[in-house]
């Protein structure tokens, strides 16, 4: 609402386009400069690669979240979903070692199951939201608790670990590079492009935006609101599954603490990127930048010990607020406003 009412005030077109589109990019740039000034190693190839690879998890999940949020929903369950999918993947792969061995076949089986699980979990969220007519916030808060406790249960309170030999087979998916870029980054790029096309260049993306703008108008415009909304949750589930597929080889394990607070990070990435939380306007490009910004903040804080470790959270919070404030460009307009 804030954005809707604020929008008409913008008198000239220039600063508007500027900030919505370039805002997150500028924020990221400033962060990079700060990082470099703190420690030139920040711009070393190794660090850049690390940064991109790390952003991949949250970034991929956030692409899914962009669809959910654009269509006016919200998904709080993604972190727990990632944990439970990782857990089940590991269980399935470990038990498939007996029959399929520790080769690629088992890994592919695991990835396949991951995708099926992601789609299934997304469908549950979507179904309960649309057919059950329960607020998305409640549904996904509920499934968040359920998924998280399920993974703890499967792991018997401890950690589920991938068979050691299997880990060798699976490792390259996280650690290898193709054409100079690590595999997770490629997956990220792929998901980002696919997401961008889907949101901006297909009828489906239009439907999401329309539903987020006004469900009633969408319904009267021959859009199958419930179905499309369910699809957004399924896309979210799929993205979580993909993120999990590249997460598992990294740490080779899953536990009750896997993916804690990823949901907030993902949503934050989406909002920092310029998507409107109440729906109706989504920007995949912004989301990608949002994910990069969040990862960079963490990275920079690891690069310096000027600040007490305890105050990391303070820095993170401040930077997020300032980044969004800068990009919303409200500082330029404040005095023009009448209220």
């Amino acid at each position: 609402m804030v954005d809707q009412t604020a929008a008409p005030e913008k008198q000239s077109k220039w600063p508007d386009i500027d900030f919505k589109t370039l805002g997150p990019a500028i924020a990221l740039l400033i962060l990079c400069v700060i990082g470099y000034l703190l420690n030139p190693a920040f711009l070393s190839e190794g660090n850049i690669t690390n940064l991109l690879t790390r952003s991949a998890f949250i970034g991929i999940i956030a692409v899914g979240a962009t669809f959910v949020i654009t269509a006016g929903g919200i998904d709080l369950s993604v972190g727990s979903m990632a944990a439970v999918i990782a857990g089940l993947m590991i269980i399935i792969m470990n038990s498939a070692v007996d029959t399929l061995g520790t080769g690629v076949a088992t890994v592919i089986l695991g990835c396949g199951c991951s995708i099926i699980l992601g789609i299934g979990a997304g469908w549950i969220n979507g179904f309960l939201t649309t057919k059950g007519k329960i607020e998305a916030f409640i549904v996904t808060l509920g499934t968040m608790g359920i998924f998280r406790s399920l993974v703890t249960y499967f792991a018997d309170g401890g950690t589920l670990s991938l068979n050691f030999d299997l880990r060798g087979t699976y490792r390259p998916v996280y650690y290898e590079s193709v054409l100079g870029l690590p595999v997770p980054v490629w997956v990220f790029i792929f998901v980002a492009i696919a997401g961008w096309i889907l949101l901006n260049r297909t009828a489906f993306g239009r439907f999401c935006t329309a539903i987020g703008s006004s469900e009633a108008v969408a319904k009267y415009s021959a859009i199958k609101v419930d179905r499309i909304k369910t699809y957004t949750y399924i896309i979210q589930g799929l993205c979580v599954a993909l993120a999990t597929i590249i997460y598992v080889p990294r740490l080779g394990s899953a536990s009750g603490t896997t993916g804690v607070l990823w949901e907030l990070e993902a949503i934050a990435a989406v909002i920092i990127g310029g998507t409107v939380l109440k729906g109706g306007y989504g920007r995949i490009g912004g989301t990608i930048l949002g994910a990069l910004i969040l990862t960079t903040i963490g990275n920079i804080l690891n690069f310096t010990d000027v600040i007490s470790n305890y105050l990391n959270g303070t820095m993170q919070g401040l930077i997020i607020i300032v980044a969004v404030w800068l990009q919303r460009g409200s500082w330029g307009k404040n005095k023009k406003k009448t209220t």
Partner: protein
């Protein structure tokens, strides 16, 4: 003009307004005196609403002055001018949907005693006001549960409750039926006698003729004339608005072929607010639906198009039984419904014209799984031309377009679906005479091309002028169908009011 401006309560002196680079008003003069009704007319997008908003303090003029009570004034923003006695009824409904009638009417002006709301007092007042305008709703009803007409009446009650010295009303009657308009005008007369200065915007020229003392005409943001109403005939008003001679408003009726195929047949339909309705629609026919507000016309067609559920009865399309589960199925079968609630259900107000235009027919604009933006652009150009949509800035948000142009866009949107049967609910709501004429001709052309059209309208002349046959509804039933010579106002009103009821066989 000179002598009147002395007595003017509120006077606009050479007002200009631009939105960004887009100029909308050019040095317009306007004034209103105590105890008079000053009507403002003009084509869609002429700048009437913009001028009203400036007079109400909601927009600041780009240049020019407002003189209130003889003093140059800068009105406070956001409805705070109410404190000065200037009250505006917006063209677009301006009510909080989830709140009750009473809460809305007193919003921002709650009566409190010792810091607590005096709910009994407010409730009683609202109840008595509602009664005064003949409204049969409770102060505790939620706005979201009211029909559009009822919402408009709530707006009117809200405005009238505010002890205005200047009451500005932007198309208050657009969604009202004649009966309601009549009640409303009685209130206006009362206010006038009390010395309230009233500004009235309407596209219904007959109403203007009836209620106004003076009329100002605006065209393309320019002031054209201000005259006492007696010096103007309906035709001259229309002519000055449009800037050209208007031929006959309604197209000649070529009688529909009574033997042509029945494309839509409805038998004993029972649905929410619809009670055992049967009728049939032939190819090339224009079938009107008349009735009082809340008679169930909208409910009937929403049920047919899959927007609400059918409880009993059967719908046949080309003789085949159908039951649409959603709008998409109806659209794919060639049946489309244009809602009367253009703001709430018709258009995405935050988006520009293009995505709105193609939204309903989106599958048509997909090429290789991608949106074909070129085709969309093409469609937009076509739509703008065909329906004479006038938006000075093509990238304007639909919510910022003038009401009439929104309505035209909505029509264009429905037509993108290439329907065989099109159901238009209140097709000309808020549309100027010139464009009305175009739309009537357009409907006639559709029928001539072999399409079937259902026109739901509360404007009696429109229904009579355009339709081959008119079904009249009352309390969810069809009480009668009139054709030919019976297609006249008295006959329809008798059915609508329940004075007469025919046995209608399916």
């Amino acid at each position: 003009m000179d002598d009147s401006s002395n007595k003017a309560v509120l006077l606009a002196d050479r007002i200009s307004k631009s939105f960004g680079e887009v100029p909308v008003l050019f040095s317009v003069n306007f004034d209103v005196q105590a105890g008079e009704v000053h009507a403002l007319i003009g084509e869609n997008g002429a700048g009437k609403s913009t001028l009203m908003k400036i007079l109400g303090g909601f927009h600041a003029p780009t240049s020019g002055n407002l003189i209130y009570d003889g003093e140059e004034t800068v009105l406070p923003p956001n409805g705070q001018a109410e404190a000065l006695g200037i009250v505006l009824i917006h063209q677009e409904l301006n009510l909080a949907e989830q709140m009750t009638v009473e809460e809305n009417i007193f919003l921002g002006r709650e009566l409190s005693r010792n810091g607590f709301l005096d709910r009994k007092e407010m409730s009683q007042k609202v109840a008595s006001w509602l009664q005064e305008v003949g409204m049969n709703i409770s102060p505790n009803d939620r706005i979201s549960e009211l029909s559009i007409a009822e919402k408009q009446m709530v707006e009117i009650v809200k405005a009238m409750s505010r002890d205005a010295r200047v009451l500005i009303m932007d198309e208050p009657t657009a969604v009202l039926t004649d009966a309601e308009t009549e009640l409303f005008f009685q209130q206006v007369e009362k206010l006038k006698k009390r010395g309230v200065a009233i500004i009235f915007v309407s596209h219904k020229l007959a109403e203007v003729n009836q209620i106004a003392d003076r009329v100002t005409i605006l065209r393309d943001g320019q002031w054209i004339a201000t005259k006492p109403v007696d010096e103007l005939s309906l035709d001259s008003m229309a002519q000055m608005m449009v800037g050209r001679e208007l031929s006959n408003l309604y197209p000649p009726k070529n009688e529909a072929d009574v033997d042509s195929d029945i494309v839509l047949q409805v038998q004993n339909l029972v649905a929410p607010n619809v009670n055992n309705v049967s009728f049939e629609l032939r190819k090339g026919e224009i079938l009107g639906f008349s009735g009082l507000v809340g008679s169930g016309r909208t409910a009937l067609f929403e049920a047919i198009c899959g927007l609400s559920s059918i409880e009993e009865g059967q719908v046949y399309l080309d003789g085949q039984p159908v039951q649409f589960k959603n709008v998409a199925e109806a659209r794919d079968a060639g049946v489309t419904y244009l809602t009367k609630d253009r703001k709430g259900r018709g258009l995405l107000l935050e988006k520009t014209m293009r995505p709105n235009l193609t939204l309903m027919a989106l599958p048509k604009f997909v090429k290789n799984f991608m949106m074909d933006t070129a085709a969309e652009e093409e469609a937009l150009k076509r739509g703008i031309r065909r329906f004479d949509i006038r938006a000075r800035d093509p990238k304007v948000k639909v919510g910022d377009m003038s009401g009439g142009n929104q309505q035209k866009l909505l029509l264009a949107k429905i037509m993108e679906c290439d329907p065989r049967i099109v159901i238009i609910d209140e097709p000309t709501r808020g549309i100027d005479v010139g464009t009305k004429q175009q739309i009537y001709h357009f409907i006639a052309a559709l029928a001539a091309d072999g399409m079937s059209v259902v026109v739901i309208s509360s404007e009696m002349p429109e229904i009579i002028g355009v339709c081959h046959r008119v079904a009249v509804m009352r309390e969810g039933r069809i009480t009668g169908v009139v054709t030919g010579n019976d297609n006249n106002e008295t006959e329809i009103v008798r059915y609508a009011a329940g004075l007469k009821e025919a046995r209608v066989h399916g």
